[in-house]
Symmetry: D3
Subunit: 68 residues, 6 copies
Amino acid sequence: MEISARNGLKGKVEDIKLGEVMASIKIAVDEPGIITAIITRESAEELGLAEGDEVKAVIKSTEIMVAK
Amino acid sequence: MEISARNGLKGKVEDIKLGEVMASIKIAVDEPGIITAIITRESAEELGLAEGDEVKAVIKSTEIMVAK
Amino acid sequence: MEISARNGLKGKVEDIKLGEVMASIKIAVDEPGIITAIITRESAEELGLAEGDEVKAVIKSTEIMVAK
Amino acid sequence: MEISARNGLKGKVEDIKLGEVMASIKIAVDEPGIITAIITRESAEELGLAEGDEVKAVIKSTEIMVAK
Amino acid sequence: MEISARNGLKGKVEDIKLGEVMASIKIAVDEPGIITAIITRESAEELGLAEGDEVKAVIKSTEIMVAK
Amino acid sequence: MEISARNGLKGKVEDIKLGEVMASIKIAVDEPGIITAIITRESAEELGLAEGDEVKAVIKSTEIMVAK
């Protein structure tokens, strides 16, 4: 089975912290990968994004899933 | 100004595709980084996650922001 | 008042687990319903999605709201 | 490979609409399933949620992935 | 029917832009309101958040729903 | 550094509640601001959204970040 979420970054679990309901998993990512970000066209234009730009992919931790 | 979203992966813009409202930005990530994933404790236990495990951080592309 | 989030699946609360800040609510869904998923066109094409395909709608639990 | 996102509802693709960047996939869900929603404890208490309550799981369509 | 998403900011639609699949709705918010943000405890501590701090609630536009 | 998430509402921290893994931050927003919501075109049309409409921007608290 294949999933539509194409962003998959390989790494190693570094730390696990368990709460009562939630858990925090720290993953060390050390292989190169491609990330696709969907933002508004307006943001892309206001940031003046162009191929070759040095950028940062920023992600809220509640949006990250773990596959094993 | 600093933001609570701590996941920031450095990379280079590889491709930009503009729609009328949305835009797709492909970013090549090639520096190691740490990702924090918040999942349910139940998932962490059912996956049997442990330090050292080889895993994949999976992210839907609509959840990724770009900082420049 | 009507909300733009059109995905609403009827069900019955099966289990509630309270943490200090978060809560986990298990809902048994047993009525048929229609779900709209917004994914990238690229994913749709790479999955080769076509009408009639048997698929699974996958959702991270932090993205689900409860209306009562 | 198994993913931490445990909510998986089986269904059949009913309709596909392609934009330039995004795609809308309508899925008819007709099998019973269990959905786990993570909300704040405060919301759970203010809604007065209890086992047996008839509720609706509400989901923004941009949060739904498709697995095939 | 009441929804668990408690963040509701009143405003007036200023602009609507329609794509083929998605739409962008600009809303002018001019009434005071309370926003609840759920972040990791780690982020809260690293930002040194304290009552009275001047902050900014930052939200990706794909996460905002419209109720009318 | 500038981020693609353009929705930034200024406010003051009113309350902080710490769990083991997550934290809840209440922010009092009292300055006018513009919010951009990305919803499906279908939802926009079914809600009959038009400029000047009184609406509510609804946001799940797990989607809100804090910048300081």
